[in-house]
């Protein structure tokens, strides 16, 4: 069983974001970075499948040099090898650009199962995995909360709205986008971190012939004028003012 998993390097969730002076994207200097959260769940699921069925896990990312860090972390968690599709162009490119580059890198791998996260924390297209499936000619499903492999097929439990689910069956090879919460993600051990240094990260250059079908013209912080009345002061002072207001509104006794 060969499982490929797409992991994206994104700004840490509680980063203080600043918009570049030309408005084109956020200032990337002095941000800290992490693996996109759903992708950690996808990687964990890939490792569990390999541990149960044998085979290998190949981690793939498309991004600039810094994104190699996500792959090293993935290898430390237990992936067997990694592919870095390296280009600065992914910062400005949309989901279709990422999916095309990932498809070119993954086509020769002919993996039995390709996993991605449902959505990236930075661009949030919720699209790259599904586009990748189309480009690789694979059947797919999204928002997967449970994976069971059977002979030549995969059964997947898909999350729907308001607590509903469906069980689907797809022939292999297939692509699934993994939803957060599917499993409990392991931590990299010291041994894993040491072992990762000997594992292969293959670097490939993407073709990027067509440019991005969509372009970001400008970023801006949304106006918050319809927002909340903020109670100022130290914690106890602010809490007291809030409490008084809630009492006056009849919301608390």
């Amino acid at each position: 069983m060969k499982v490929a998993v797409c992991i994206k390097h994104v700004p840490a969730r509680d980063s203080r974001l600043r918009i570049r002076s030309d408005g084109s994207w956020v200032e990337e200097r002095d941000l800290s970075w992490e693996i996109n959260e759903p992708d950690l769940y996808a990687l964990e699921e890939a490792l569990r499948i390999r541990d149960a069925a044998g085979g290998e896990v190949v981690a793939v990312t498309a991004g600039p040099d810094r994104a190699g860090e996500a792959l090293r972390r993935g290898l430390a968690m237990g992936a067997d090898r990694a592919i870095h599709v390296a280009s600065e162009a992914f910062t400005a490119g949309d989901a279709q650009v990422a999916a095309r580059a990932l498809a070119d890198a993954l086509a020769p791998e002919a993996a039995d199962l390709v996993l991605t996260g449902v959505q990236s924390d930075d661009k949030g297209y919720a699209a790259t995995g599904v586009m990748l499936a189309e480009m690789l000619g694979l059947p797919h499903s999204t928002l997967i909360m449970e994976v069971r492999l059977e002979d030549g097929r995969v059964r997947a439990r898909r999350e729907m709205e308001s607590g509903w689910f469906e069980w689907l069956e797809l022939p292999l090879p297939a692509l699934l986008t993994i939803q957060s919460g599917i499993n409990q993600v392991r931590y990299a051990t010291l041994k894993g971190i040491m072992g990762a240094k000997k594992k292969e990260i293959r670097r490939v250059e993407p073709a990027l012939a067509d440019g991005s079908p969509t372009v970001v013209e400008a970023l801006a912080f949304p106006s918050r004028d319809s927002g909340a009345e903020i109670f100022e002061g130290d914690a106890r002072g602010a809490a007291a003012k809030l409490w008084e207001r809630l009492r006056r509104d009849g919301k608390v006794r």
Binding site: S162, R224, A228, I230
Partner: protein, 329 residues
């Protein structure tokens, strides 16, 4: 008939889903500004009833794409039927609602058509006669203005609740309905739907709670939940959570609020250490009073909150608990 703005209406058990009306209203508005006709498009095993409902709206025509293979829903059938329709008719833009179903097939459709795809938009503008899309990035913290390049039809999805459903205009006379039987060969559908079921059957019903104290990832770890539970107890409130808290198994799944959890509208909703991602907001924004406690002044939760405290929850929450206890005595 090229150059139309299409509104894709999602059909469920014969009816048009309410979020599709938001899309239709937005399509009418966009079409008016770029000077294009609007068509409503519905796909299903039997789309007749939904098509009739759509024909009452102010649209140039309704396209009903019908094929037994569209039931039950699979991305293969939906993407194929829509691809054929879009290739045949060349609309200028197709608008969808950003639902779980659309997220499942629209990116495939965009890739197959090599069309620009702009998901989860919160506003549509027009500049130089061209649509300009506004979508949220970085988990709702920043707005991005986006334009499509090239001449292919643009596919865009609209965030649920971002466009008013009551903006849809009715037509003076019923619009013509064009029924298009599709023909999807059986082997084109690779996914089999085996079972559809409700996750937790006898879950706690939070929709009846008068007061809810909801906790997010800002709490840091499970052991810290005690301070939030104390506040909930002092207020006589139910405790609830954002998804990551339930994903980490700090609280059971059935206390999750949001698009994949429960929808609530209590008299008072206190959000503690919750950033306010759209998937959380859809589950609680109908609450009559919303209080947010968050250390980040830019957290999106403050845009739906009535009252807020910008500060460390580990200081603010015990202070509130003390006040609540004092008030009760």
């Amino acid at each position: 008939m090229s150059g139309e703005i299409w509104a894709f209406a999602e059909e469920r058990d014969g009816a048009v889903r309410p979020t599709s009306l938001e899309v239709l209203g937005a399509a009418q508005d966009l079409a008016g500004r770029v000077g294009a006709p609007v068509a409503a498009v519905v796909a299903g095993g039997n789309a007749a009833r939904a098509a009739d409902a759509l024909a009452a709206r102010a649209v140039a025509r309704v396209l009903a794409l019908e094929d037994p293979s569209l039931e039950p829903y699979t991305p293969d059938a939906h993407a194929r039927v829509l691809r054929e329709a879009i290739e045949a008719e060349s609309p200028r833009a197709v608008l969808f609602s950003h639902t779980y179903r659309v997220r499942d097939f629209a990116p495939k459709l965009a890739a197959a058509l090599a069309s620009p795809y702009v998901p989860d938009c919160v506003a549509l503008r027009v500049a130089d006669g061209e649509p300009v899309f506004v979508r949220r990035v970085f988990q709702g913290k920043i707005d991005a203005t986006v334009r499509a390049r090239g001449a292919r039809p643009v596919l865009a999805t609209l965030q649920n609740g971002a466009f008013p459903a009551d903006a849809v205009r009715d037509g003076r006379a019923p619009a013509p309905i064009e029924r298009r039987p599709a023909s999807v060969p059986p082997d084109a559908i690779r996914t089999r739907v085996r079972e559809v079921f409700e996750g937790v059957k006898d879950r706690v019903d939070l929709s009846r709670a008068e007061t809810i104290v909801a906790v997010g990832r800002g709490i840091g770890k499970k052991e810290n939940l005690a301070i939030v539970q104390e506040l909930a107890d002092a207020l006589g409130a139910e405790i609830a959570a954002s998804r990551p808290v339930c994903d980490s198994e700090w609280l059971p799944m059935d206390r999750q609020i949001g698009s994949s959890g429960q929808t609530v509208a209590p008299r008072l909703y206190v959000a503690i250490g919750i950033s306010g991602a759209i998937q959380h907001l859809v589950g609680m924004k109908g609450s009559s009073t919303i209080v947010a406690v968050n250390k980040d002044p830019n957290a999106p939760i403050f845009s739906v909150a009535d009252y807020g405290i910008v500060g460390d929850l580990f200081e603010v929450v015990p202070a509130l608990t003390a006040l609540a206890r004092g008030g009760a005595s």
